[in-house]
Structure formats: structure tokens, C-alpha cells
Point group: none
Chain length 229, copies 2
DNA sequence: CCACCACATTAAGGAATTGTTAAGAAACCG
DNA sequence: CGGTTTCTTAACAATTCCTTAATGTGGTGG
């Protein structure tokens, strides 16, 4: 496994054990690692270390991950740097918010090292940032804009509440893929909260009410999917 | 509610109240549960019980969780078993060691039963995803896509109800192999429900009605087979 | 040629799943 | 704090799907 890597990774988290866990696994895979315990120090280190990838905890004292990411994005030398968020809760910062400040990926804690490493490899593999997830998804006469949490249907703009938006956004990211209620709960609500699966139905209905019945299809006994026409 | 689960869970913790709490919640959700109060007994029980998941307290007398996990990983029959650590906040330092011996996840104490159950579901769901065989089958002008639960015949997309889809998908996975009605019932309906074998005929007919008569062939006195042209 | 057998087809009742609504709880916002 | 929006849950309605049994069809051997 001793692949020769020259990639530089900066890990930012306020919890010492997490830093060690990540450093241990990254170095084992041959990455060059630096760590920082808050956003301010991260910026400092980033300027001289010029990492290829920053792993950034969203919840931190002094300067949180979102703000740190925004500052990193302003540094000319770091234009090509990847930023990946680490987050414990789906409630406080959503995937949508993370992408909005220029994150390249979004990983939920608890961190499973093997899964994380394969995600990181995947990020480096798409070396050009051309295939960044775009800020909007467009199919037919539906436009989903994650910066404003709005959806435009046939030119008519509709504002969706958070859960409804994320539901539609999640389904639309993988058109035609069927997700069970449990899949949707795990991905949108997170695994740390429990809500009854039928709650999904209600949100589905509200989304349909607002954007029309033509986009989300029910697959009985299985789940829901987005049908790009 | 009473979904039939056959998943086996071994809970290992030195605190009796924790064991009871977990047993109660797991059994309520239909899991088959065994418990052990230390690592040595856990290994013993695991060898004969062959659990699908082990919930393992990190801090235990006699043999701690990390060592127990290492031993479990050495047992050939338990290669596919998930190991999830239970850990209190103050014990976070052990994460590195925990993942290094092959843990699949960790859950923080104090345990919130509903969140725990949702995490456990997520773990098993992840598993069932990975061992699914190739998601789409293509032969001639028929395409069967398990991701979207749709079948495409000569470019025309048809939606099949669950049982019909499963039936077609199952037959198509082994073209030209003849399955008796009993085989099909056992594999698609499962062994714990009884339906009369002729029910299969009705489903076969409905599938033919939707995708055409050219794909499923009747072998008189034996059963049905998928004929890849 | 007819009786029998296996499968095909149909229709109807019941089972299971999803749609819809409303009400209370929780989060949000001045 | 109020007032408002959003989220969750539970109840009931609507719908789809599954199963069964009854009847139809074609082939086959006596």
C-alpha cells in the first residue's frame, strides 16, 4: 500500500483525537499532512503549506468551517485546492450550504477511515475542477438553484422550505435512481435523528404541490425517484 | 410493523442496564439478540451465534473492545460481520486504535435508542447495497434497470410493479435456466410466506402483457425460463 | 375423437402501500 | 416573549397490487 504520494493535505478540526485519526490514516496512505485546530491557524498554515486538499470541520471555535472556506477561496495561490467539509450534524449545516461556499465534497462524521480515503482518492482523480457540482440543476422546465433555495418551474419561481428543497435536490442529483424512505432519511435527515419513514411521504406531497406532480415518481414498495423527462 | 428481520446482533458491555436497554430496543425491531458482559465471553458466543453485527463497548474489564474486535476479525466465519464500538465522550482517544482493528462505525454514549436504531439500519442498508449484483441487465432490445426499477423494451419504457419486476429480473439473471414455480416462490417471495404456486402464472402473464411474449418461455411440466434471444 | 392435464387468462375480493389532511410540537424571527 | 412558518405524527381515504379461484384453451395419449 506504500504508494508514493506527493499530495499535501491540511486537516482542520478542534478535536485532537480526530486530527490524530486523520493524520494517521493519511500518512499511512502517503500523503503529506499538516494540522490546525481552528480556522485562523488554518489560513495561516495554508498560505505557506499550499495544500492540495483541505479537510475542514464545519463546527469550530474562533472561525467556523464555512467562513474558513470562504477565505481560502479568496487566496489566489489556493485556487486549485480542494476543500472537503467534515460535519457531525445534518441539521445545522446542510450539504447545500456547504457546496454554496465552494466545497468540493461533504463528509459526515463519524469518520470511517476506509471510506474517507476512497473519497479523497476520488477527489484527486478528478484533477481538474471542471466537473464541480454545479450550483443549479436544470432538466426540462425545472431549475433547482441551491444558492437561493428556490426552484423555478416553467419560469415561475417557487420558494421551498429547507427539508422540501433538500429532498427535491437530493433526488434530482441522481435522476431515475430510486431511493427508499430509509435512504432518504439517512441522507437528508442524517442517522442521528429518528423520524418515522412516512414523514417522507408528507414532504413529497408538499414538493409535488409546489412544483407539480411530473417530477417525482413513486415506485410502489420501493421508494421515490426523480424522473428527468 | 412487524417486519421479519433475521439479522443477528451480539451486544457486549459490562454494564447490565446498558445490555438490557439495547436488547429491549433491538428485539422490538425484530433483531435476534445475544449479550455478553466481557470480551472473552463475547468471542465464545460469537463463534456459535455468528452475529451479523457486534455492538462492542470499548471499555471493559478482562478484555477491552479493541482487543475483542481484533480477535473477532481473525475468525473466518465472521469476516462479513460488522463491528460497531460504543464509546463515551471521554474515551475518544481510542478512535485510531478502534478503526485500525477494523471497526465499521462508532456510537457515542449516552445512547439514544431511536438514533441508535437508525444508525444500525443504516449499517445494514449499506451492506445490502454492496452485495447487489450488477444493477442493469441488457439483452437484445430489453433493458432491465434495478436502479430505476424500470424495464425498457425497444426504447419504450414500461413500469413494472415490484413483484413483476423482481420476477423478470430474477429470470433474466440466469437466461435459459428453467425455474420451477417453487424455485421462484422461494427466491422472490421468500420462504416464510405461503402462496399457491399458480400465483406465479398470473405474474408471468402480466409481465408478458407488458414486455411482450418473446422473453419468458414456458417449459411445460417444469417451469419458466428467460430466453435471451 | 374425447378425456385429461398443464398452462393461460380473467375477474374479484382482500391485503398492502401510498396519498392527503389536520393538529400539535418544534424551530424561527423579529 | 408572541406570531409565524415548518416539521412530524397519526388517522383516514384512495389507490394499487397481490392472491385466489373459476373458467378457457391447446395439446396429447388412449
Amino acid at each position: 500500500m506504500g504508494k508514493i504520494q506527493t499530495q499535501k493535505v491540511l486537516v482542520v478540526d478542534d478535536e485532537e483525537p480526530i486530527l490524530e485519526l486523520l493524520r494517521y490514516n493519511l500518512e499511512k496512505d502517503g500523503y503529506q499532512v499538516e494540522t490546525a485546530v481552528n480556522g485562523v491557524k488554518a489560513i495561516e498554515i495554508a498560505k505557506r503549506f499550499l495544500p492540495d486538499l483541505v479537510l475542514l470541520d464545519i463546527m469550530m471555535p474562533v472561525m467556523d468551517g464555512v467562513e474558513t472556506c470562504r477565505r481560502i477561496r479568496e487566496i489566489p495561490e489556493l485556487q486549485k485546492t480542494f476543500v472537503v467539509f467534515l460535519t457531525a450534524r445534518s441539521e445545522e449545516y446542510s450539504e447545500v450550504a456547504a457546496f454554496d461556499v465552494g466545497a468540493d465534497d461533504y463528509i459526515m462524521k463519524p469518520i470511517k477511515p476506509r471510506a474517507l480515503m476512497s473519497r479523497i482518492q476520488a477527489i484527486f482523480r478528478r484533477d481538474s475542477k471542471t466537473d464541480l457540482p454545479s450550483k443549479t440543476i436544470e432538466t426540462g422546465d425545472l431549475k433547482i438553484d441551491r444558492t437561493s433555495y428556490t426552484v423555478t418551474v416553467k419560469g415561475r419561481e417557487v420558494a421551498l422550505p429547507k427539508k422540501e428543497f433538500e429532498l427535491l435536490y437530493f433526488l434530482a442529483r441522481n435522476p431515475n435512481k430510486v431511493y427508499s424512505r430509509e435512504d432518504l432519511l439517512a441522507n437528508i435527515w442524517g442517522t442521528d435523528v429518528y423520524v418515522v419513514p412516512r414523514t417522507v411521504d408528507v414532504h413529497i406531497r408538499k414538493v409535488r404541490e409546489k412544483v407539480g406532480d411530473d417530477y417525482i415518481t413513486t415506485v410502489k414498495g420501493v421508494g421515490y425517484k426523480f424522473s428527468g423527462n
